[in-house]
């Protein structure tokens, strides 16, 4: 199957190698990186044009993981789409659940009780920790620091166990649903979360001491992968990348959702704008996430965990067996789903990778008319040619890793 992204790069490939008219002119070589390169963390192909060891041009080729999720969304009823959102960004699935649920709830105009909102915040922060841990482990592995990977995955395992405790699933949790949460928080969750979150900050110190005391790590990351802030804004880059360039912009602060406004946390920024700065920003974000989770644990409001919207939320098993009305609602929701008033909405949240925005159009039926996912990886990856231009090929691995993209998120 032919798939060409950059006609210029291909033309260079196909052109016969002629003796340069000017012997001093550099001879370029085209190198195909990927789609199965280990440091691309998925299936990304990059066509590199090299002059010696310097990259003169990089042309990313995406679409290998395209699964047609947006088309699929139009075939499912509103609640079923939640399971598809899990599979978009599989490292931060709860953020995807959350943004979809928030968007549809706005269209439905239902109020989410405080307990569910706080629980959602806690879950979203767990997914941020999970994603950053996978990023740190694999990024360090790419650069040559092997052991960090094991430390990061040790904590990730604990998080996955907590997610399993809540939802019964480790990765594709679908825990945040339209109208609240999928299940009542399990008995003893405070103990499990408390045990993890008390130990976690010292674990972050461990990663920090493992890496910052490592001269190979600091030399391979400092001053590498520079891209100007203007370029990033123009190219649609969001998230930790942009905060490492000094712009203090976090959607959790600027457009608070799901009661993020009630939490006390800092938005870390750096000004160096290199791979090292992005690492520092994400490391500090992990500490801030731990702070948010601690606050959520200590101040968790009492009350309902689903909205008072019987036409949207499945009734209690108990009620369904004893009350006629609950039985009717249950039957309606299960057989045809619920209808969402016609309208359109763009809801965005801060995912671990940046701005994730769902544009949802409803035509008043029980299925979405159109769901567009503005995913952070797609926007960030677009800056890759600018980021890699005129860098050494050995540095491209560090620069690529610092973007923290997920190809499932890019291709959807």
């Amino acid at each position: 199957m032919k798939k060409i992204i950059d006609e210029d790069a291909v033309a260079t490939l196909a052109a016969p190698v002629a003796e340069p008219a000017n012997p001093a002119a550099p001879r370029l070589m085209t190198l195909n990186m990927g789609p199965q390169h280990p440091s691309t963390h998925g299936v990304l192909r990059i066509m590199l044009e090299l002059e010696g060891e310097t990259i003169r041009k990089a042309a990313p080729d995406i679409g290998f993981l395209h699964t047609g999720i947006e088309k699929e969304c139009e075939q499912k009823n509103w609640q079923q789409v939640v399971t598809l959102t899990d599979r978009v960004d599989y490292l931060a699935n709860l953020s995807n659940n959350l943004v979809y649920a928030l968007a549809v709830e706005k269209l439905l105009q239902i109020e989410i009780p405080p307990r569910a909102q706080w629980m959602r915040v806690m879950m979203a922060e767990f997914s941020r920790l999970n994603s950053h841990l996978v990023w740190l482990g694999t990024h360090a592995l790419d650069i040559g620091a092997m052991s960090v990977f094991f430390y990061c995955f040790r904590e990730r395992e604990d998080i996955l166990r907590i997610l399993e405790m809540f939802s019964g699933q480790r990765m594709m949790t679908s825990y945040i649903r339209i109208g609240g949460l999928a299940l009542e928080p399990p008995r003893g969750w405070e103990k499990a979360v408390g045990k993890f979150i008390r130990a976690f900050p010292s674990k972050v110190d461990e990663y920090e001491s493992l890496l910052d005391a490592n001269p190979i790590w600091t030399r391979r990351t400092q001053g590498v992968g520079y891209i100007s802030l203007e370029d990033m804004l123009d190219l649609g880059v969001t998230g930790p990348m942009i905060r490492a360039a000094g712009l203090k912009w976090d959607i959790r602060k600027s457009e608070p959702y799901s009661s993020y406004g009630k939490f006390d946390f800092e938005v870390p920024t750096r000004t160096e704008n290199d791979v090292y700065a992005r690492y520092r920003v994400r490391l500090t974000e992990m500490r801030q996430s731990a702070r948010i989770i601690t606050q959520a644990l200590e101040g968790m409001p009492e009350g309902a965990w689903t909205a008072d919207a019987p036409h949207v939320v499945l009734p209690d098993r108990e009620k369904m067996k004893t009350q006629m009305e609950a039985l009717i609602y249950h039957f309606k929701i299960v057989t045809e789903g619920f209808r969402v008033p016609a309208g359109e909405i763009y809801q965005c949240i801060e995912s671990p990778r940046g701005e994730i925005g769902y544009y949802i159009v409803s035509d008043g039926t029980s299925k979405p008319y159109r769901v567009h996912m503005r995913t952070p990886s797609f926007g960030n990856l677009q800056a890759l040619p600018v980021l890699l231009k005129d860098t050494l090929i050995a540095d491209s691995i560090a620069a690529l890793g610092s973007m923290d993209f997920v190809l499932g998120d890019t291709d959807r």
Binding site: M1, K2, K3, I4, I5, D6, E7, I62, G63, H66, G68, E70, K71, E72, Q75, K106, L107, L233, D234, L235, G236, L247, W249, S254, E255, G343, E344, I345, Y346, C348, E355, G357, Y359, V361, Y369, R370, H372, R374, F378, G379, Q382, D411, R412
Partner: protein, 146 residues
């Protein structure tokens, strides 16, 4: 906000939407970027209203970090001529988003630097997110599947 390309304005759920004249989209975008400081183009997408006419809506989501403001601009296109000027020269972020819309809806962006398919293979026929494109049974990747 006052510009001759704006045909209608409405507001819902705290979000502002402009319906713009597709012929003047670049003109309007340049104004929004430079005068109204919408430095970021969050996304470009489209909606297919088949079989209604005008069939396509191209949707631009703009964002201003400075003003903490979001704006949606929509252009309606007839199915006979699904073409609109590219806004690549205003925001480079439009590059991939417009390619995606072209790939998925078959809307052509004039003066786009590299308008080729981005998610589907280059030799793919049809545009998957159009409403008249079936979910199953239209095309198979491998002959033995059918």
């Amino acid at each position: 906000m006052n510009h001759e390309a704006i045909l209608e304005t409405h507001e819902a759920f705290g979000e502002r939407t402009l319906i713009a004249d597709p012929a003047q989209i670049v003109h309007l975008c340049r104004y929004l970027r430079h005068e109204e400081k919408f430095l970021r183009l969050s996304a470009v997408t489209a909606v297919d209203w088949y079989p209604a006419e005008p069939r396509f809506e191209v949707v631009y989501h703009l964002h201003s970090v400075e003003k903490n403001l979001r704006l949606r601009v929509k252009c309606r296109l007839e199915s006979a001529h699904p073409e609109i000027e590219s806004v690549y020269e205003v925001w480079r972020a439009a590059d991939w988003y417009e390619r995606e819309v072209y790939d998925m809806f078959g809307i052509r962006f004039l003066n786009h630097p590299n308008l080729v398919r981005i998610l589907m293979p280059v030799d793919w026929e049809g545009h998957p997110l159009r409403k008249d494109y079936p979910v199953h049974g239209y095309k198979y990747s491998y002959p033995e599947e059918s």
